[in-house]
């Protein structure tokens, strides 16, 4: 008896997607067009210059945010990618990651701000994030495939959905973690909520938000391979190919390229968030404070002066 009953959840969602596809076709076509153009524009920027130009720029960036060791590692890593003939695939995947994470950040940071400002919004958003984050990533591909058809776009959309959660969570955490008294000080001097957000909460939450952005980018990269399943191109398609052909060599080379790009992006964004933090917590404070602290002598002197004056 009991086995006959079945919750028709899957059918419901499937029907819902069908309705969406039928009624909002033009909207999804528009989104598809926008995402494709964005992706192609970024890919064009990355692929049209010779590979060594991109490597020089990446290394310069690495040197600027962290130092020469990171720059040297960047050059070695990227040359390895060129050496295993995965440069074009890597740039295609990088373009996908950049577009997807940029959009994920653009959605998740404001959502995080909203969640930080209202307990009700936070309570609403949190279970949705749990859902998005723990649902197996492949599952997003199916509806994305139906809505946006085969190609790079379902990959980007699935990546955005999957990678968004830490952006929201870290932003909320960062803003809620700003010293309450400091925010109160903003109010006490008559600042508007917008000014407090812009001048106090966001700057002070920035290290945490940057950590969230770092996580968004890393999760995007991990989705690249899965995007290959739906024709996302780039490194993902080579990995998928290697899997279907049991081609260990190809699989390793494509996989290694993903790892190199991942490490580069991780260290880059981590260094960015770290840099902001050091700006206002210099390491040299302790020694200077003890020397500079005003001596108690003036206090005693004024007390004496008062006695003298009163006699």
């Amino acid at each position: 008896m009991i086995t006959d009953f079945r919750l028709p959840l899957g059918d419901l969602v499937s029907d819902g997607i069908d309705v969406l596809t039928d009624s909002l076709r033009p909207l999804f076509d528009l989104i598809r067009l926008v995402l494709v153009s964005l992706y192609e524009a970024v890919e064009f920027v990355l692929l049209s210059p010779p590979f060594w130009a991109i490597i020089i720029i990446a290394a310069a960036l690495a040197y600027f945010v962290k130092g020469w060791k990171f720059a040297a590692g960047t050059i070695v890593g990227l040359f390895v990618i060129v050496g295993v003939n995965q440069w074009e695939n890597s740039m295609a995947s990088l373009a996908l990651v950049l577009v997807a994470s940029a959009i994920a950040i653009a959605i998740s940071v404001p959502l995080g701000i909203v969640a930080a400002r209202s307990n009700r919004a936070s309570a609403t958003i949190r279970p949705i994030l749990d859902f998005l984050q723990t649902m197996p990533a492949f599952v997003y591909l199916v509806p994305a495939l139906i809505l946006f058809r085969v190609g790079v776009v379902p990959g980007i959309v699935a990546t955005i959905v999957f990678a968004m959660a830490p952006g929201v969570r870290f932003t909320e955490l960062g803003i809620r973690g700003v010293d309450k008294e400091v925010v109160e000080a903003g109010h006490a001097f008559g600042s508007s909520p917008w000014r407090i957000l812009r001048q106090i909460q966001l700057p002070l939450a920035m290290p945490t938000i940057m950590a969230g952005i770092n996580q968004v980018i890393m999760l995007s990269l991990s989705m690249v391979v899965i995007a290959g399943l739906v024709g996302g191109g780039g490194l993902g398609s080579d990995v998928v190919q290697a899997l279907s052909r049991i081609d260990v060599a190809l699989g390793f080379e494509a996989g290694l390229s993903v790892v190199i790009i991942a490490i580069y992006l991780d260290r880059l964004t981590a260094a960015l968030s770290g840099k902001r933090r050091t700006m206002w917590t210099p390491w040299r404070t302790k020694a200077t404070i003890t020397e500079a602290a005003p001596s108690p002598a003036p206090a005693a002197a004024t007390a004496d002066a008062r006695v003298g004056a009163s006699v």
Binding site: D179, E181, V182, E184, A185, H187, A188, F189, G190, S191, S192, R195, Q199, I200, P203, L204, M279, W280, T281, P282, R284, T285, T288, I289, T290, A292, A293, P294, P296, P298, A299, T302, R306, V307, S310, V311
Partner: protein, 446 residues
């Protein structure tokens, strides 16, 4: 002044900066109901489990230019109270008026304007903006007001110098010690040029020496700027040192409002009495509060013989000599006067010793110890025209510190005790010239 609720007649008076009437602040699910309960006599503990009454029926006026200290232990509601004064917390019931503007029911924009132009605040843990330099911190209030960058930095720099941070303007708060950070907090509040300053446990996070220094600096600044300061503290000594008037809070209610001396000498209830037990009385009590009527005094016109008579009667070895209008001329000792009597001199002024200790009535007792040690005579308390108001013998000084009620039961000791044998004095005073001079002395002293 001593009653929990102050009897205030007018709210529109110009001399009142902040006026609080029947203020309640209850946190919880049904705050309004809790207020109704409290108003009909319920105590704080009788409220529901979800309601917490932080401030109960507070009414007081803060006068322009005074330092009004709200003192209480943690949980007494003082921090909540101060936050209703600039609208950081909205009162559950009752009203708060700042410079005549009722801020308990105004739109957010108006409230922001009041905060920008009328009330600024200094915080317990400084609440500086760690990503801004000292100068930019100090300029924050002006920035919010929309003052142009060049002007606000210039004005902020002046204030930064006034609070003693010249040379530190371009540092970040984390590079400063606690005392210096709170100077930045003070500068940030002063730079806005609001006439009301809220200070929420502003010096509590500082170590004692720095705290003392900041308190003294605040008083110096206050003498110069004449702000209205509402200062929250849990430290009674701090309250007594800074406050022109003090409101003592307990369990959300104001139990006494009065001057430091009122509270020390005449506590409203056992709680306040217990609280003031540990206070450093020497810093609070003034010479005027503990002095006793001067008894060993002679008018200059009385002459040596009647001076000696006075000292003999009081068993004193010295007496204060007063000129016209009770102005204090100096001190004569019995030995010198006796020599004069022996050689039949009549001008007392020739033996007056002018080097005696005298203090104004508002001198703190702590400043009298050294004088009391050095001088064998009671310390004279004089007003600004050098008129003798009273004297403080060492015994009185000690009694005041020990909280012995000196004013109600005078201690019958006159210092210094005479060292000349009674018989010799009696013999001296038995001579015929005595009567007329003695009569005139009695008249003056009465």
């Amino acid at each position: 002044m001593r009653a929990p609720k102050e009897n205030v007649s007018s709210t529109s008076s110009v001399s009142v900066s902040v006026s609080v009437r029947n203020l309640y602040k209850v946190f919880g699910r049904r705050p309004k109901d809790a207020v109704t309960q409290l108003q009909s006599g319920a105590s704080r503990s009788e409220l529901g489990p979800h309601e917490t009454a932080a401030v109960i029926d507070a009414s007081f006026d803060v006068k322009k230019g005074e330092i009004f200290v709200v003192m209480g232990l943690s949980g007494s509601g003082k921090s909540t109270l101060i936050r209703t004064l600039n609208g950081l917390l909205e009162p559950t019931s009752g009203s708060v008026a700042v410079n005549g503007i009722d801020i308990s029911n105004v739109p957010a924009a108006k409230l922001r304007e009041v905060r920008q132009k009328n009330v600024s605040m200094v915080f317990q843990h400084f609440a500086l903006f760690p990503h801004r330099t000292v100068l930019d911190n100090a300029a924050y209030g002006l920035e919010v007001q929309g003052v142009r960058r060049a002007e606000r930095l210039e004005r902020a720099r002046k204030i930064v110098n006034i609070v003693g941070l010249d040379g530190w303007a371009d540092k970040y708060p984390s590079e400063l010690s606690g005392g210096m950070q709170q100077r930045v907090g003070l500068a940030r509040a002063l730079a806005t040029e609001t006439d009301i300053l809220l200070m929420d446990e502003a010096f509590s996070a500082l170590d004692p020496l720095i705290r003392r220094e900041m308190q003294e600096q605040l008083l110096e600044l206050q003498a110069e700027l004449g702000k209205t300061i509402i200062f929250i503290t849990h430290d009674l000594n701090e309250a007594m040192f800074l406050g022109d008037r003090i409101a003592v809070m307990r369990n959300g209610r104001i139990v006494q409002i009065g001057t430091p001396e009122d509270i020390l000498t005449d506590p409203a209830n056992d709680y306040v009495a217990q609280f003031v037990q540990d206070v450093d009385r020497a810093r609070v009590l003034t010479a005027g509060a503990v002095m006793e009527p001067a008894r060993a005094v002679v008018p200059l016109s009385a002459g040596p013989r009647s001076a000696l008579r006075v000292m003999r009667d009081l068993q004193a070895g010295a007496a204060f000599v007063l000129g016209p209008g009770r102005t204090l001329l100096g001190v004569v000792s019995d030995r010198h006067v006796m020599r004069q009597v022996k050689s039949n001199e009549t001008d007392l002024s020739r033996v007056i010793n002018q080097e005696h200790a005298s203090v104004p009535a508002d001198a703190a007792l702590v400043d009298l110890f050294e004088l009391a040690v050095e001088s064998p005579l009671p310390i004279a308390v004089i007003d600004d025209k050098r008129r003798l108001l009273g004297v403080i013998p060492r015994v009185t000084l000690l009694a005041a510190l020990g909280n012995v009620p000196t004013n109600t039961t005078p201690i019958n000791i006159i210092e210094p005790v005479s060292i000349i044998p009674d018989a010799e004095l009696d013999a001296m005073l038995a001579s015929p010239e005595l009567t007329s001079a003695a009569a005139s002395t009695e008249g003056t002293l009465a």
